[in-house]
C-alpha cells in the first residue's frame, strides 16, 4: 500500500513552482511527466483516455447518424437489432454499414455510444471536480482549525462513508429527483469524504512545518497560509485520487442509469444497457458496445491513476 507522506522533501517546491519554472527548466512537473511516461501502463492509460477525449470533443463529427433517428423507413430492408456490419470486414456491400449494428429501435448503436460518451464521462469529471472542491474545503478547515470543528466535520464524513456509496447515491437521486444534475450531485456527495480525508491528512502533516510557522510570523493571513503554503502539499494525492475517482464515478453513473434512476431518455452508456439488457441472448452487440466503452474508459483512468501514484511517490523513484 502506498500511503502518502505529504511532507516529502520535494513538496515545498510546489508552493514556489511558478517562480522556479522560469528559472530552472527541470521542474517537478517535468520530472513527474517524465516519470509517468516511463511507465508502460500509464502510457496505455493516457492513450486510451486520449482517444476517448477526442471522441467526446468531436462526438458530433464522429457519429455517422443522429443517435435518436430510427433507420426504419430511412434505409430499405433494415432489420431490427441488426448485427454489426462493416464493409471492410466482408459485410456484403448491398447492406448498410453500421459498425456496431442497430438496436431495438432501429437506431445506430455506434452513434449512440459516441454521443453517450459525453454524459457518461462528462458527469464523472464534473462530479469529481465538485467533490474535490467541497471535500478539499471541508478537509482544509477540519485540519487547520482542528479541535471541535475537526471532530464534527469528520464525524459527519464518517456517517456518509457508513453507507455503501451506490445505495446512498440511488437514495439521493430519488430524493432530489432524477435528472442529470442531481446524478452528478449524488456521485459528488458520496465521494466528498475521500477527498476531505486526503486534504485533512495533508494539512495536518504540513501545518507544523517551519516554513508555515515562518509565514505566520511574517503576518500572512490564515487563508493565505492555507492556500499558498499548505494546500500545495495536498495537490499530489488529490490528483492521484481524483484520477482514480473519475473512473469510479463513470462506473457509478453507469450503475445509476442501469438501475433506472437516471432518466432512460438520456443517451448514456448505462441507460443503453438498461434498455436492452433483456435482449442479451438475441442481440448481444447492443449491450457489448456500451459495456466495453465503460470498461475501457475506467481502465484508462485506473492505469493513469496508478501511474501517477508511482510517479509522484519519491520512494519508488528509480
Amino acid at each position: 500500500m502506498t500511503d502518502h507522506h505529504p511532507t516529502h522533501p520535494a513538496a515545498p517546491e510546489f508552493g514556489a513552482v511558478d517562480t522556479l519554472v522560469s528559472a530552472k527548466p527541470a521542474s517537478l512537473w517535468r520530472d513527474t511527466l517524465a516519470g509517468v511516461l516511463r511507465q508502460r501502463s500509464a502510457v496505455i492509460g493516457l492513450i486510451i483516455l486520449g482517444i476517448f477525449l477526442f471522441v467526446v470533443i468531436f462526438a458530433d463529427q464522429i457519429a455517422p447518424f443522429d443517435p435518436r433517428q430510427s433507420m426504419l423507413g430511412v434505409e430499405t430492408g433494415v432489420l431490427k437489432q441488426a448485427p454489426p456490419c462493416v464493409h471492410l470486414l466482408g459485410c456484403p456491400a448491398d447492406r448498410y454499414e453500421h459498425i456496431f449494428g442497430l438496436d431495438t429501435n432501429f437506431q445506430d448503436v455506434f452513434s449512440r455510444v459516441v454521443i453517450g460518451s459525453r454524459i457518461s464521462i462528462g458527469i464523472g469529471f464534473a462530479a469529481i471536480g465538485l467533490a474535490i472542491v467541497l471535500g478539499g474545503t471541508i478537509g482544509a478547515i477540519a485540519g487547520y482549525v482542528g479541535g471541535k470543528t475537526d471532530n464534527i466535520l469528520m464525524r459527519f464524513m464518517d456517517v456518509v462513508l457508513a453507507f455503501p456509496s451506490l445505495l446512498l447515491a440511488i437514495v439521493i437521486v430519488s430524493a432530489l429527483g432524477s435528472n442529470l444534475i442531481n446524478t452528478m450531485l449524488a456521485i459528488s456527495i458520496v465521494s466528498v469524504p475521500v477527498y476531505a480525508r486526503i486534504v485533512r491528512a495533508s494539512v495536518l502533516g504540513a501545518r507544523e512545518n517551519d516554513y508555515v510557522t515562518a509565514s505566520r510570523a511574517l503576518g500572512e493571513s490564515t487563508s493565505g497560509i492555507l492556500i499558498r503554503r499548505i494546500m500545495p502539499n495536498a495537490v499530489t494525492p488529490l490528483i492521484v485520487q481524483g484520477t482514480l475517482g473519475i473512473g469510479t464515478a463513470v462506473l457509478e453513473i453507469a450503475a445509476l442509469a442501469f438501475v433506472g434512476v437516471v432518466s432512460l431518455s438520456e443517451i448514456t452508456w448505462g441507460s443503453m444497457i438498461a434498455i436492452e439488457f433483456q435482449r442479451l441472448f438475441t442481440a448481444p452487440h447492443i449491450i457489448l458496445a456500451p459495456g466495453l466503452a465503460i470498461t475501457f474508459v475506467v481502465l484508462g483512468f485506473n492505469l493513469l491513476g496508478d501511474g501517477l501514484r508511482d510517479a509522484f511517490d519519491p520512494r519508488l523513484n528509480r
Binding site: 456517517v159 455503501p164 440511488i170 450503475a255 438501475v259 441472448f281 449491450i287 459495456g291 470498461t295 475506467v298
Partner: protein
C-alpha cells in the same frame, strides 16, 4: 484491549445516530404523494387523509423523527405501506438472498485473490504475475452488471447443452425447494424471535441444505449462485490480489526477511511463515472495506440475475415511494456495514498489537 474495544464502540454511536437521521430525512424528501403512489391516482381526498393519519405523516417532522426513534428502540421497523407487511418480515424474507450472495462473493474473492496475489508477488514479472495483474486491471474496470451479462451470455447461451452450462437467473430451478429448518425438524409450534431467526436462516439455502443434508437442492442452489458470485466477486478479487501482491513485495524487502534468509531457512519457510503473515495484515482491512462495494454491487447483480434481495426491494420501494421500507432497508444495510467495519477495526487491533496503543 478492552479499552480499545470500548473506545471503538463509543465512536460508533454518533455515526449510528447520524445514519438514522440521514435516512429519515432522505426518505421524507423523496418527492411525490405517498398516498397516491400506494393507493393509485384515483384515491379520493378523504381516503388519503385517513391514510396519512394512519401512518403518522400529518405530524410535524421532529415529532415523526422522535416517534421513529422510539419505534426503532423496540426493534420495530414499521409496516410496509405497499406490502402491508412488517418491514422486519420483509427483511427475513429478502435479506438472506443478499447475505448469501455477498458472503459467497467475498469468499470467492478471498480464496482466489489472496493466493493469486501471493503467487504474483513471489513470481514477480513472470507470466503469472503480468497475466493476473492485467486481468485484475480489467476486472476492476468492468461494471458488475456488464460482467454479469457477459457471464450469462457465455455460460447460459454459448455453453448451453454442455456440462459447463449454468442457469442465468433465480436461486433454484423451478420445482426444486429447500425445506426450511422448521419443516425438517418439525418445529411448527416455535414462535417469537426464535421462529423469526429459524425462518431467516432457512432462507439461506446453502447452509440450511448443508446442515440438513438436502444434497440435491444444495447442488442446485450452488449452481445458481456461481455466476452471480463471480460477477459480484471479481472487483474485490482484483483489489485483494493487488493489495496482497504489493504488501508481500514490501515485506519481502524488509530486514527481518533478509535475516531469515541469512540464517539459512528454506525459501518456502521464509515466504510462507515469516513474510506472508505480516503481508496479510493490510489485506484484512481491505477485505472488510470491500463489503460496501459488495452491498452496492449486490443491487446490480440482483437486477441482472433476477434475484429478489435487498437491492431489488429497495429499488422497488424507491419507485413506489414506500418510505417505511426505504428507511428500514437502508438503515439495516448501513448498520451491517458499520458493524462489519467495526469488526475489521477490532480484528486489526487483535492482529497488530501496535494499533491498540494508539
Amino acid at each position: 484491549m478492552t479499552r480499545f474495544i470500548a473506545r471503538r464502540l463509543l465512536v460508533t454511536i454518533p455515526v449510528l445516530l447520524g445514519l438514522i437521521f440521514i435516512v429519515f430525512t432522505l426518505a421524507r424528501v423523496i418527492p411525490g404523494d405517498p398516498c397516491r403512489a400506494v393507493l393509485g391516482e384515483r384515491a379520493t381526498d378523504a381516503v388519503c387523509d385517513d391514510f396519512i393519519r394512519r401512518y403518522g405523516l400529518d405530524q410535524p417532522i421532529p415529532i415523526q423523527f422522535g416517534l421513529y426513534l422510539g419505534q426503532l428502540s423496540r426493534g420495530d421497523l414499521g409496516v410496509s405501506i405497499k406490502h402491508s407487511q412488517p418491514v422486519t418480515q420483509l427483511l427475513i424474507d429478502r435479506l438472506p438472498t443478499t447475505i448469501e450472495l455477498t458472503l459467497m462473493a467475498l469468499l470467492f474473492a478471498v480464496v482466489v485473490g489472496i493466493p493469486l496475489g501471493l503467487l504474483s508477488a513471489y513470481r514477480r514479472n513472470s507470466p503469472v504475475d503480468v497475466g493476473s495483474m492485467i486481468v485484475a486491471n480489467i476486472g476492476v474496470s468492468m461494471p458488475v452488471f456488464v460482467l454479469g451479462l457477459l457471464l450469462q451470455f457465455v455460460f447460459a447461451l454459448l455453453l448451453k447443452g454442455t456440462p459447463f452450462a449454468l442457469p442465468p437467473s433465480g436461486r433454484l430451478s423451478s420445482g426444486v425447494e429447500v425445506m426450511s429448518l422448521i419443516q425438517v425438524w418439525h418445529l411448527e409450534n416455535v414462535t417469537g424471535a426464535l421462529r423469526g431467526f429459524l425462518d431467516f436462516f432457512s432462507r439461506l439455502y446453502i447452509p440450511t441444505a448443508l446442515i440438513t443434508g438436502q444434497w440435491g437442492p444444495l447442488g442446485d442452489a450452488l449452481r445458481h449462485l456461481i455466476l452471480p458470485m463471480v460477477a459480484l466477486g471479481t472487483i474485490p478479487l482484483a483489489i485483494i490480489a493487488r493489495i496482497t501482491r504489493s504488501s508481500l513485495l514490501e515485506v519481502l524487502g524488509l530486514d527481518y526477511v533478509r535475516t531469515a534468509r541469512a540464517k539459512g531457512l528454506r525459501e518456502r519457510t521464509v515466504v510462507l511463515r515469516h513474510a506472508t503473515r505480516n503481508a496479510l495484515l493490510p489485506v484484512v482491512t481491505i477485505v472488510g472495506l470491500q463489503l460496501g462495494g459488495l452491498l452496492s454491487g449486490a443491487v446490480l447483480t440482483e437486477t441482472v440475475f433476477n434475484l429478489t434481495g435487498v437491492g431489488r426491494t429497495l429499488y422497488e420501494a424507491i419507485t413506489g415511494r414506500d418510505y417505511v421500507v426505504i428507511q428500514g432497508f437502508t438503515l439495516i444495510v448501513a448498520f451491517i456495514y458499520v458493524a462489519v467495519n467495526l469488526l475489521v477495526d477490532l480484528s486489526y487491533g487483535f492482529l497488530d498489537p501496535r494499533v491498540r496503543q494508539r
